[in-house]
């Protein structure tokens, strides 16, 4: 069905191709990883927007957009993602496969060239990106950062992490801080570009039915003989002296309660999967402990879910509650974590979480975006894991593995947005 190939272009630069003829749309991308630092995080985020706005071949935003439309809704997207204390800048291009075009033209070669153009041959004159491009994208990035406040669920989670990891790079956030974005100069953007291409760990992906060797050669030409550091460790905290509690008042009807926990940093893939399974049992499915006890049995909230970040070693439980129920909800959540640590996990709970997790891993194989995201999410790690292998590991996790991980969980921060 599909051919998986993984090659190292040089130290720290990996090319993964999955040749798969099932899809109407192909996809390729480059993820560039660098340590999260206030200033560079902002510069990288702004750079990713500037790069996808124009390039030497299409120096004007409208000309580039029209070309993408003409290429049957081809898309060029910038995105940034936090992976532990690191920031990944991801530049992707996607478009329909050649055989589906209306008059048989080939667009895949064009898309590969476009991706290379925006990365290696951007719209730079005399060592500077276009000021107009930078200003336009700066304004939009600031609006995006501001707008994260508009959705209260996301805002509350981000704020909890910010408070919890105050003295760690992780608190910076994927776009960097607004104040830093405001201060960036044209030189900062140019340096960010140079630095990302020449010093970042890179994960290049090519997914779809296009012959991967064409794309591989293009990437190789640039990246060959430019090795970069591959070691990357995030700060993991396993001691909590005092639980931090912060609450903000807002004019909202439903209050938000977010609890941040420190948990074990999983060293290998076996432990990573066990950790994800633990979170699924706690609050990742409609029959999880949090959903069935805190929402269904006690009707304390509309949602109560947990998610674990294996790259950072933290677990977040978030819920939407009525004002008067915040304390009760907090107690109920702690009670469910205790149950987990005490080993009060029924076979049904364990098995259904396993099924859900396996379903998620295997289903990801039916979407190129999900496959790309799966590999990028693990680019900080040296061991290779495929979605199929992940599903196989799920079956080997035991109740004792879960108990061991659950005992490690420590409450670090409680953040709430309280309605008037």
């Amino acid at each position: 069905m599909s051919d998986f190939e993984r090659k190292e272009i040089c130290e720290g630069v990996t090319f993964t191709s999955i040749t798969d003829g099932r899809f109407k749309r192909g996809r390729m991308g480059a993820a560039l990883l660098s340590p999260l630092e206030s200033k560079t995080a902002a510069a990288n985020a702004l750079l990713s927007c500037v790069l996808t706005r124009s390039c030497k071949r299409y120096p004007d935003f409208t000309a580039l957009s029209r070309r993408l439309e003409e290429l049957y809704s081809a898309a060029l997207y910038p995105s940034v993602r936090r992976i532990g204390d690191y920031q990944a800048v991801i530049l992707s291009v996607s478009g329909i496969e050649d055989k589906y075009t209306l008059d048989g033209e080939s667009i895949s070669t064009e898309l590969a060239e476009l991706l290379c153009s925006i990365m290696f041959d951007p719209n730079i004159t005399d060592g500077h990106f276009s000021e107009e491009d930078v200003e336009q994208e700066r304004r939009q990035l600031i609006e995006n950062i501001d707008a994260e406040f508009n959705d209260k669920r996301t805002y509350a989670i981000n704020r909890c992490i910010e408070i919890m990891c105050e003295n760690e790079p992780f608190s910076i956030g994927r776009y960097g801080k607004k104040e830093d974005v405001e201060k960036l100069t044209l030189d900062d953007i140019y340096n960010a570009w140079k630095n990302l291409l020449d010093n970042s760990k890179a994960e290049l992906t090519m997914l779809g039915s296009t012959e991967p060797s064409n794309v591989y050669e293009k990437f190789k030409k640039y990246f060959e003989n430019k090795p970069r550091k591959t070691e990357s460790k995030s700060i993991v905290i396993d001691k909590v002296d005092k639980v931090k509690r912060i609450s903000e008042k807002e004019d909202v009807v439903q209050s938000k309660l977010v609890m941040g926990f420190r948990c074990m940093y999983p060293q290998d893939k076996q432990k990573c999967i066990a950790s994800s399974l633990m979170s699924a049992i706690l609050g990742g499915t409609p029959t999880s402990k949090l959903f069935s006890n805190v929402r269904e049995k006690q009707s304390l909230c509309y949602y109560c879910a947990s998610r674990v970040d294996n790259e950072k070693g933290i677990l977040i439980v978030d819920s939407g509650v009525e004002n008067k129920n915040t304390e009760k909800t907090e107690k109920a959540v702690m009670e469910q974590i205790r149950e987990l640590a005490d080993g009060n996990i029924s076979d049904d709970e364990l098995n259904s979480a396993k099924l859900v997790l396996k379903n998620a891993y295997i289903s990801s194989l039916d979407s190129l975006a999900a496959i790309q995201s799966f590999y990028i999410g693990r680019m900080n790690r040296s061991d290779i894991l495929t979605p199929i292998e992940a599903a196989e590991i799920v079956d080997t996790v035991t109740k004792d593995d879960i108990i061991e991980l659950a005992r490690y969980i420590k409450l670090d921060t409680v953040f709430s947005v309280i309605g008037n």
Binding site: R22, F23, K24, R25, F61, T62, S65, R66, L68, E69, E70, L71, Y72, S73, A74, G95, I96, Y100, L102, Q136, R139, Q140, E143, N144, D146, A147, E148, F149, N150, D151, K152, D251, V252, V253, Q254, T285, P286, T287, R295, S299, Y302, Y303, G320, V321, E322, D348, N351, S352, K354, L355, V356, K358, N359, A360, I362, S363, L365, D366, S367, L368
Partner: protein
């Protein structure tokens, strides 16, 4: 097995359709080499179907009933469906929109077992005073969550500003007050009227064959008496209610939706009409358009700017939406440019580019079993066939699109909805 095979060479795919003896329309859309399968059962019953004729009797139900019924159907006498799905590993969900309610799951193993649970769920209503009352707390919380949601409020306020009588102007979940009036009897009445299998469609897309689907359907579907429930809609004037509406919520960047109301005949739009509208919107307001560039250069929009065509029985309208520091300026420019658009029409070059773009988007939709299933289910209710749109777009001309434009984007008939923060 009485499946009809429907093929399309452009897409390179096919599906199988049949009317099952139980009354249910069944569609199986195999996706070769896919790992997962997505199954969805839908009924043409959404929040706007609050007034209807059932066997000659006229019935009015409280706002939010369709959504309430969706929640309650998950429970049957022998337990709730989520715990049953927990044993098969399927990821299950349901949603209620303005005009449909769908129950769905996706899975990679134990497909047969999960399909039985799904078909059983829609066939075994169990509503008692106690179970109905219990749901008020959870749905009340859901309603409150939506009251804080700026994107939801900006849209609902817009619909209230556009529609005077049509129930599209009412929140899908109703309000805490209206759901308090919902009783088991009301739920049973709706169930009998709209969950008759003759009013429903099932689509299974992905890693499944017609044979395995029909085997399970035969074993669990009960035959339903054939009849039609008639939904009743009030008359709706052509004009919008108001040209401006706003609400203050804690937001950092104001949000806007600008809706252009248009004439809505008593039938659904055709594939050709929908594609025509999509091409107009891409050419007029897509990222490569002069309008997009103008708004961007003036610092009025960001990449969140977008357009949508809202269409159903008795309502049709085009919506522009986004975040902006100056909603009035955005609206003024868009209104002004629509006037020019009507004067000049869409140029052949813009048409060609937009057509290729929309064609690419349509073909990309076939990568996702979930979007295939919802397109097919909606298509069964609206009379639109999924493959036909691919053929319609291939032959569509610039003249067709400019003809379509005449009925749309009337600059005199629009409403601007704004959600802004206290300081704005």
């Amino acid at each position: 097995m009485n499946f009809t095979k429907i093929e399309n060479s452009r897409v390179g795919e096919c599906y199988y359709r049949m009317k099952h003896k139980s009354g249910l329309t069944i569609i199986v859309y195999p996706k070769e080499n896919f790992r997962s399968v997505y199954a969805s059962v839908g009924t043409k019953f959404g929040s706007i179907n609050s007034k209807f004729k059932y066997k000659g009797r006229e019935i009015n139900v409280p706002d939010g009933t369709a959504h309430y019924l969706e929640h309650k159907l998950f429970e049957s006498e022998d337990g709730d469906a989520f715990s049953k799905y927990a044993k098969t590993g399927a990821s299950a969900n349901a949603y209620t929109s303005f005009d449909v309610t769908c129950y769905l799951f996706s899975c990679t193993e134990n497909f047969g077992e999960s399909l039985k649970i799904l078909l059983d769920l829609v066939q075994s209503p169990y509503f008692t005073e106690e179970t109905v009352a219990k749901e008020q707390g959870i749905i009340g919380q859901e309603i409150k969550m939506y009251e804080d949601s700026a994107d939801w409020k900006v849209m609902m306020n817009l619909l209230q500003g556009m529609y005077k009588n049509h129930p599209i102007n009412i929140d899908i979940a109703g309000s805490v007050e209206t759901i308090a009036d919902i009783t088991p009897e009301i739920l049973y009445n709706c169930y009998k009227s709209y969950y008759n299998l003759n009013n429903m469609v099932m689509c299974v897309a992905g890693n499944a064959s017609p044979d395995e689907v029909i085997e399970i359907a035969d074993s669990v579907l009960k035959e339903n008496e054939e009849f039609k429930t008639e939904s009743i809609f009030p008359n709706e004037p052509y004009e919008v209610v108001t040209h401006y509406t706003e609400q203050v919520l804690p937001v950092a960047v104001p949000m806007f939706e600008l809706g252009f109301k248009e004439k809505a005949p008593e039938h659904f739009a055709s594939n050709k009409e929908l594609i025509g509208t999509n091409i107009i919107l891409e050419a007029f307001a897509g990222e490569g358009s002069a309008l997009y560039r103008e708004l961007l250069d003036k610092g009025l929009i960001n990449s969140g700017f977008g357009t949508e065509y809202l269409e159903g029985m008795g309502y049709r309208g085009i919506i522009f939406s986004g975040e902006t520091r100056n909603p009035n300026a955005v609206a003024e420019i868009i209104r002004k440019r629509t006037k020019e658009l009507h004067e000049n029409g869409i140029s052949p070059k813009d048409f060609e580019i937009a057509k290729r773009c929309i064609y690419g988007k349509l073909i990309s939709g076939f990568d996702h079993p979930s979007s295939i299933a919802s397109e097919i289910i909606n298509g069964e209710f609206t009379g639109r066939k999924i493959f036909e749109s691919m053929e319609d777009i291939a032959v569509l001309t610039c003249d067709d699109v400019n003809e379509r434009l005449k009925e749309q984007l009337d600059p005199e008939n629009s409403c601007l909805s704004v959600v802004k923060g206290t300081d704005d």
